[in-house]
Amino acid sequence: MTDIVAAAPRETWGPSLPRQYALLGMLLIAPSLLVFALVIAFPLVYAVYLSFFSIDTPTLKGEWVGLANYRTMLASGEFWASLGTTIVWTVGTLTVQVIAGVAMALLLDLNFYCRSLARSLILFPYFVSTVVAVLVWRWMFNDVYGILNRALLASGLSDMPLDWLGSMPNAMISIILVGAWKYFPFVVIAVLARLQTIPGELYEAARIDGAGAWSRFWDVTLPQLRGVLLVIVLLRTIWDFKEFDLIYLLTGGGPIAATQTLPLLVYKQAFGMNAMGQASTYAIGIMLTLLTFMILYLYRTREKGEAA
């Protein structure tokens, strides 16, 4: 960052926008950099610093413990268990999001009545607050009066109300489904926008070649969607992996710790166990895991893209 401030303008921008404006350019970016330094760079460094301390949350008194927190992290079963839970949750909800999202986008791409109304209704779960989503779903999951259990009993599918959030594997399935419901519109919008740019001639040609609906989807649509799906999977993996609100508010990590993903573990360490330093270490662990994933993902997809 320092080299931006120190740098003398050396590139020319074209005849009309002279180079002395570089100074003005730096002036305009300065507030952004200041905010970045204050609320992102500083906390990031501070988080690493904290991870070398043992800190009591209520008093905020701490002492240097070196790498002890990291040793605890790698040795504790809780971290690895939470990592496993996080992966199950992320893979589960992401899979449903992508499949439901692509299917919904294909449906919304059809020609039907009140199409634009349907398209905006589908966005609602994505834009509504997680708190609102959780309240509604907890009401629907209610063991006695919730509509899901009432429908289940009335239809005769089950003669016992289902414990949606309080037992396993129900709790995991429930959060995966609510997460998918909340976030699949993101996939829908992105895929729908891409679908509209696929040239109609491609389908025409496939039809002339005698391709059925399924093979038109498989051989024409899906390859065209590859690029946008790669971006979607990257972004949604990162966002689902770090999801806190939805899981915390639906199950609180329970039953026992069966749905305790890593962000919930950080929160519990910091404010339940009052171990702020250890919590910071877990947070750094999350960041490093995501960073590794991102690098591997970009590396792999680029490699494949070049080979293809």
Binding site: A7, P9, E11, G25, L28, S129, I147, K242, S280
Partner: protein
Amino acid sequence: MTRSCSLNRALASFVVWPVVLIVVFPLIWMVLTSVKPQSELFRIPPSFWPQSITFEHYTTLLTETPFLKYLRNSVVLSVSTSIVVVVVAVAGAYSLTRFHYRGRERLAVLVLFTYLLPSVVLVLPLYLAMVKAGIANSLFSLVIAYTSFALPYALWLLRSFMASLPVDLESAALIDGASRLGAFVDIVLPQALPGIISTALFTFILAWNEYFYALILVNTDEARPLTTGVITMLVSSFNIEWSLLMAAAVGMSLPLIIIFIFLQRYLVKGFAGTGVKG
């Protein structure tokens, strides 16, 4: 030809609309529950449509709960976050797209990286810093915390908006002797306005819906926004009044509904701008 076309259309409607209605069912259910008398929720067999419509839960919400206080906090919080973030980001994005200096491209990548940074990493140091600075438990501390995710987002969005604007008009104005600032105000701002509005809306929604920072940084009703406030109502109530909570949920979704009805084209624009077009 036309007949088969409209037949296909009707057929497609019969397939698509039920799916759409199933997806939005939870939200319909929320509204229906909020206007049912409490007794109707527990009746056997249950009623789907309310037998009698009541707004008593909304009145209770406004008169007997701290809902209005939370609402005021949320409005102050979301509006101030949006203003701060949009002002800073407009200047920043303009600089990133129209000026050349060393490190500019690296800076853009940095913005994307921070946009993906998990907030769980930043929240503990921010909490400690706020406590030490003596500003914890205030709306001000939340505005500061919210810029950490809203600014990278707004910068990224506005950068792609501004990059898509043609430079010709601006160059022409400069050749005609306009100052850089004059050209910015007269030429760039009007052109970028739709992008700025949609960025402001997205920032507003992000701040309005935020829960995690509010949970950790604020521990008093004086500064609690709707998200954590309504959850407090849920947790602290002795027996949960679901219709009251559904009324609260509808209430806190109202700004979104207004944005959806009147400003939706800006939301779609914003989505296109995040670069997920592929």
